[in-house]
């Protein structure tokens, strides 16, 4: 059986600067996979390549056996892959409802229609409300995104990511900048909303990683140092060196 997602020997350099030098790991279906590593290890670059923002310099990404490397983001999204952003990337002036609506109607194929009004479709509206409920934003449903607290904007970010019903979700530091309490809530919420789907997450906060992931890959200097279960990673000497060595 072929793997669900296979990152094959990905290289990326930006005008000579080598950021990724042969990243290789596999993700099984329904796995909860964390990519960790010190700052500057290339985690976000890797995400940008998997999600189609950048093209890899070389290498392949096999998603259910099909090479998806270099495909534009909108195509990847329609294949069932959706990502969140480390720096909140929502529609600032629009209400929470309309933020989520943008993705839900895209999933329902209502992207470029010249006659249909998306907010008149009952199935779509129900799905939007369900997602808003899942990420806990029901009380601010009609408020514009830029009026929300930081924590709620982060929740909206995840809500938008979910709105196209992805089977593979990539979360880029979903709890960055949150207080401890907000983080705990966020972990709970992420665990609920991603249940039954494949999750890849970049995270700095070890507590978040150990409470969300069942497999961890350590990215160090542009390559994967080790890929294993959290228990093994916790005790791996190389990981300790890579991390502790740099604080």
């Amino acid at each position: 059986m072929s793997d669900y997602l296979h990152i094959q020997n990905i290289h990326k350099d930006f005008s000579g600067l080598k950021v990724l030098t042969g990243v290789e790991f596999k993700v099984k279906e329904k796995e909860r996979h964390a990519v960790i590593g010190p700052n500057g290890a290339g985690k976000t670059t890797l995400f940008n390549i998997i999600s189609g923002k950048f093209k890899p310099s070389s290498g392949a990404i096999l998603f259910k056996g099909q090479d998806i490397s270099g495909k534009p983001p909108h195509v990847l999204n329609r294949l069932g892959l959706s990502r969140s952003f480390q720096i909140t990337n929502v529609f600032q002036e629009l209400s929470v409802f309309n933020n989520i609506l943008a993705g839900v109607r895209s999933h329902y194929g209502l992207r470029y229609h010249f006659f249909k009004k998306p907010d008149r479709d009952r199935n779509i509206c129900e799905r939007v409300e369900a997602i808003i409920d899942e990420v806990g934003l029901m009380d601010v449903k009609d408020q514009p995104a830029n009026s929300l607290s930081y924590g709620k904007q982060r929740a909206l970010e995840i809500g938008i990511t979910l709105s196209t019903e992805p089977e593979l979700i990539l979360l880029d530091e979903p709890t960055a900048g949150m207080t401890r309490e907000e983080t705990n809530q966020a972990i709970k919420m992420i665990n609920q909303v991603t249940a039954g789907r494949t999750l890849i997450i970049i995270e700095h906060d070890m507590e978040v990683v150990f409470s969300l992931a069942n497999t961890i890959s350590v990215l160090h200097y542009g390559t994967i140092l080790v890929s294993d279960t959290p228990e093994k990673i916790r005790n791996d000497q190389r990981v300790k060196d890579a991390y502790m060595g740099e604080g």
Binding site: H74, V90, F91, E93, L94, R111, F114, K117, I160, T164
Partner: protein, 331 residues
């Protein structure tokens, strides 16, 4: 404004429009017909500028193309029905919009502005040089064909009849543009202006969206151009010149690009100012220029912003988005 209210206003405007031939003199009815046609042109322009945030300096190429195609078709095809003359104008602009749009779709901002201007200049140059077809500097004169409705035929020689046709067809096109801003495609355009990157990651092909919008607004401008020819029963290269683009830009901007109705108001103000100022002074373009630049500097929201502010002050009514942006969810 809630949509129910808007529908009510639309019906009221149509009814008021229907009574105008009884009230207005020929001269003013003429002007009103012109205003309706330019209102459509300005509305189509503002779907690019106000809604999508795309500054085009080439909108007159579609207006002029529609105008010329209608004239050329009427001249060269004897007995051509009025509908078909309009249809030929619109279909040609759809094709032109699609071809030019495919060359431009990767470009935004200054690049887009420059390229649209360049294409407009190309159209103008071709129209000037291709004397045998376009009449060059002399222009083309036509006679409006009668309107055939199958069972009966309505003479279009009368201004009143043509006014009603304009009110119904061009008015309906304006209403459709308003409706469009609430459809999936209309919302997609707004969302792209807000955050194009995120739209890509939600499965939207933003280049295709831009191409569709560009073609659509071009076709609407072509319809306006077609009526322009029918109205004046004459078309010259000024219809396809950069000056015509400047005119529509002035209309949209003076009226206000941040509301749907701003450009309609702008067309109204522009045509009236043009008629009266040009009687008083030959330098009226200079006045328009100064009005425009001062608005860019001091009232970027145009007249509609001024009106919204006054209304807010008088009635203390706070519109959800206070005219802040066409991206408001209901305009």
């Amino acid at each position: 404004m809630k949509q129910k209210n808007t529908s009510f206003i639309i019906i009221a405007l149509f009814l008021a429009g229907a009574f105008m031939p009884l009230i207005l003199k020929q001269y003013h009815l003429n002007m009103l017909t012109e205003i309706i046609i330019f209102a459509l042109f300005a509305v189509s322009y503002n779907l690019l500028l106000g809604y999508a945030g795309l500054l085009s300096f080439g909108h007159a190429m579609f207006f002029g193309l529609g105008a010329f195609m209608t004239a050329v078709a009427i001249i060269h095809i004897p007995g051509l029905a009025l509908w078909n003359a309009i249809l030929i104008g619109v279909v040609t602009t759809i094709i032109a919009g699609f071809v030019i749009g495919s060359l431009l779709l990767r470009h935004k901002g200054a690049y887009f502005a420059l390229l649209t201007l360049a294409f407009n200049a190309l159209f103008y140059a071709v129209a000037t040089k291709w004397h045998s077809v376009t009449g060059g500097d002399d222009g083309l004169s036509i006679t409006r064909p009668d309107l055939s409705l199958g069972f009966t035929s309505i003479s279009m020689a009368s201004l009143t009849h043509f006014y009603y046709l304009t009110l119904i067809i061009v008015g309906a096109a304006i209403v459709f543009c308003w409706y469009f801003t609430h459809t999936a495609m209309g919302k997609t355009v707004l969302l792209m202006r807000e955050n194009e990157e995120r739209m890509k990651f939600l499965g939207y092909n933003t280049n295709i969206s831009r191409l569709l919008l560009f073609t659509f607004t071009g076709a609407v401008a072509g319809l306006a151009g077609s009526f322009y020819t029918l109205h004046f029963q004459f078309v010259s290269i000024s219809a396809i010149s950069v000056d015509m683009t400047t005119a529509v830009l002035l209309m949209a901007f003076v009226g206000g690009t941040k509301t749907f109705w701003g450009p309609i108001l702008g067309a109204f103000v522009y045509i009236i100012l043009q008629n009266y100022l040009s009687n008083i002074t030959d330098r009226w373009p200079l006045f328009m220029g100064f009005i425009f630049v001062s608005m860019v500097l001091f009232i970027p929201g145009g007249l509609s912003e001024v009106i919204m502010n006054i209304r807010q002050r008088l009635f203390g009514k706070k519109d959800n988005n206070g005219g802040k942006s066409a991206a408001s969810e209901e305009v």
